[in-house]
């Protein structure tokens, strides 16, 4: 079995990267993900990995170099946050469209403006249509576990897609947490050897990547990419099960906390889920039927499974740590509305935008939301469909009575 250690989330990620030992890592520093690459650079400098490290001059070039390296034929990783991910945006779509299983550790941070270095999900949510598989982590342990599984998921032959592994800036990246590491050999056996298809370095069999694809073929290629994303659903399940065998840990698409008989439920991703669990423990002790659904996989979005999980619930609060300005609610809320559309036993749903720019969600705030949900369950009335919470000033809520 593994070794129990106390590490920050960033060092946990760097440790997973050391164990994965990618062929090439190209990156550019940005708070709060910088430490991942700093620590990994030490592993490179000390010869603990064989990786060629490219200290790129920008995130755009870092992702471009990842794409070149992946096309050349090998395992490739990077890490970034916020503006860095935004700066990569053009290349994110290209990595996915070219079907390269690049792995990106995204340490979630708010997007400017105003500039802010703390955790929210606006960066990775902004990339949700880029064609990357997205996996979210509550804590350092999950972040570590996800990164190792990401290698296998992305590299599966009927998937071959890039994977973004997200965890919260500072709350997870900089706080010391206890976690269990697998030993190096177990990780290496689990991920196995990478077999590149049509590598550029196979000069005897020249291939052209990135041809101009016009009306005649473009849609077939995009559809093939969409199919690959669909294929990843099963792969994600298989890999999670296999990983559980070697680690004894992990959920698949999402984690359920007291969901068996829960009447009112909060849906929340990443670190704040931990705080919600604390509230649930206290409320359950008082006999209240509250529960938590914590999505792990955001892309591909597990529509049916998530909707099934909510089928016996009366009222749900979807918690978004990012807004989709101008839409009726945050990105997670919109996905859940689609997932539940047309279902017979739809729960009543509300949306809260919380924690932007790293603002804490306190125990008390969470308990208030459960109270509101109980009220909704009892009266059948929703006061506000979507609103910002824990915020000063006039409320500008959508769907407010």
């Amino acid at each position: 079995m593994g070794k129990l250690v106390a590490l920050t989330g960033n060092i946990a990620l760097a440790t997973a990267m050391r164990q994965i030992n990618p062929d090439v890592c190209a990156a550019y520093p940005i708070t709060p993900s910088t430490q991942v690459i700093e620590q990994f650079s030490e592993y490179v400098a000390d010869g603990l990995v064989d990786t060629e490290l490219i200290a790129a001059e920008s995130e755009h070039s870092a992702m471009s170099a990842c794409i070149g390296a992946a096309a050349a034929g090998g395992r490739v990783m990077t890490a970034t946050s916020s503006q860095g991910l935004a700066y990569m945006w053009e290349m994110l779509y290209i990595a996915a469209g070219m079907r390269f299983p690049v792995i990106l550790a995204c340490v979630n941070r708010a997007l400017s403006a105003p500039i802010n270095i703390h955790g929210d999900h606006s960066d990775s949510m902004g990339a949700r249509d880029s064609g990357w598989i997205q996996i979210y982590a509550e804590n350092a342990q999950e972040a570590y576990d996800n990164l190792i599984q990401a290698v296998r998921i992305g590299e599966q032959m009927d998937v071959r897609l890039p994977v973004m592994c997200c965890m919260d800036g500072f709350t997870t990246s900089h706080a010391i947490d206890t976690l269990e590491l697998l030993d190096d050999k177990t990780v290496r056996d689990f991920i196995g050897e990478y077999k590149a298809t049509h590598p550029l370095l196979d000069v005897e069999h020249p291939v052209t990547y990135g041809a101009l694809d016009l009306q005649d073929y473009f849609m077939e290629h995009k559809r093939a990419q969409a199919e690959a994303m669909k294929n990843s659903r099963k792969v994600i399940v298989d890999i999670a099960k296999e990983y559980k065998k070697i680690s004894g840990r992990g959920s698949i698409y999402f984690e359920e906390y007291y969901m068996d008989d829960a009447e009112v439920v909060m849906v929340i991703m990443n670190s704040a889920a931990g705080t919600v669990k604390t509230v649930i423990d206290a409320m359950r002790a008082r006999g209240e039927k509250v529960g938590l659904l914590k999505p792990r996989i955001f892309r591909p979005f597990p529509y049916n499974e998530l909707a099934d999980a909510l089928s016996n619930v009366k009222a749900v609060a979807i918690m978004d740590r990012a807004d989709s300005v101008g839409a009726e609610g945050g990105p997670l809320f919109m996905e859940f509305k689609s997932a539940l559309y047309g279902r017979k036993n739809q729960p009543m749903m509300i949306n809260k935008i919380y924690g932007l720019g790293g603002r804490d969600l306190m125990l008390n705030d969470i308990e208030e939301i459960y109270k509101e949900l109980r009220e909704i369950k009892n009266t059948g009335k929703i006061k506000a469909l979507s609103e910002y919470i824990t915020v000063r000033g006039e409320e500008a809520a959508y769907g407010k009575a």
Partner: protein, 306 residues
């Protein structure tokens, strides 16, 4: 040393049948350069005419591994490829020598890809960057770039009633690249095939980054005749608009000095993009162009004398 006899026997890496215009300089210089490689090549290509017109799916003109990923990142992309090569070599998974080449137009090199180029040069990857400089964003319909010559009319620097074309001087990219202190930098022209091939050979031989800036006429953009492409290259060099020189580990060498420097009008006249300069009211602009060229030629000679 390269010999014409050997060069022409090599199969062209960029095959015929692509859709670049009649008289385009780019395919000519691409094949000349790639033929001078002593090893198989892997290529990265920025968005632009060379990319768009050579790989319309399901066709490709390339007889070598080739990748295009975006406009501003041919250098970053090749640096990823070259790093993977080194990683796999270290692990014993690959052993043969491969040369790495990135192609970019002037827009993809002087402008939007400038940072990516500078970064890759500074990191010291072993690759040859080739800029085919046709002096504008041709693929999107002849917009001005920072390589567009002073006075030229483009679709974003048109010769209008009050503004007579582009009023800014070209960025001197070759010297900026030389300031990166990389092992090899050269400016070349396809009309002097031997000089270009020799420079390519040197570029491939160095253990680090090399840069070739090659003039590349574009009949639709220059409003010139396809048959004049090679001739216009020669005049560009004989007027000293485009001097042939190289910088080897910091040492400047002029590779060709015209016996008699031709007046710049000889080069401007056959190109429709400069037509407005020959109106009487623009005589001062013509004068200024000549003065600038004379000054730059002087300063290059001084550098070479160091």
């Amino acid at each position: 040393m390269v010999k014409l006899k050997d060069l022409i026997q090599k199969k062209p890496i960029m095959e015929g049948g692509h859709r670049m215009c009649l008289g385009c300089g780019a395919p000519i210089l691409v094949n000349l350069i790639l033929r001078a490689s002593d090893a198989p090549v892997v290529l990265s290509n920025a968005t632009g005419c060379l990319e768009v017109a050579s790989t319309i799916f399901p066709y490709t003109a390339w007889n070598a591994p080739w990748i295009h990923s975006a406009f501003e990142n041919a250098a970053a992309t090749i640096s990823g490829i070259e790093s993977m090569y080194r990683a796999l070599k270290k692990k014993g998974k690959i052993d043969k020598k491969i040369n790495f080449v990135a192609f970019g137009g002037d827009g993809g090199t002087y402008d939007i890809g400038f940072q990516s180029l500078s970064g890759a040069l500074e990191r010291g990857h072993r690759f040859v960057y080739v800029c085919y400089d046709n002096g504008a964003y041709m693929n999107t319909g002849v917009q001005r770039s920072s390589a567009t010559p002073f006075g030229a009319a483009t679709t974003t620097s048109p010769a209008g009633v009050v503004i007579p074309g582009k009023l800014q001087k070209r960025k001197d990219l070759t010297k900026i690249v030389a300031a990166h202190n990389i092992p090899y930098v050269a400016q070349a022209s396809p009309h002097n095939w031997l000089d270009l091939a020799k420079k390519a050979e040197k570029a491939f031989s160095v253990d680090g980054p090399a840069f070739l800036n090659v003039i590349s006429p574009c009949p639709p953009g220059w409003k010139s005749e396809a048959k004049d492409t090679i001739g216009l290259c020669k005049i560009a060099v004989d007027t000293c608009f485009w001097p042939l020189y190289e910088v080897e580990n910091g040492k400047y060498t002029i590779n060709y000095k015209p016996k008699e420097k031709l007046p710049i009008e000889t080069w401007l006249k056959p190109q429709g993009r400069f037509r407005h300069l020959f109106k009487p009211e623009n005589a001062k602009l013509l004068k200024q162009i000549q003065e600038d060229i004379d000054k730059e030629w002087e300063s290059l000679q001084k550098l070479a004398a160091l």
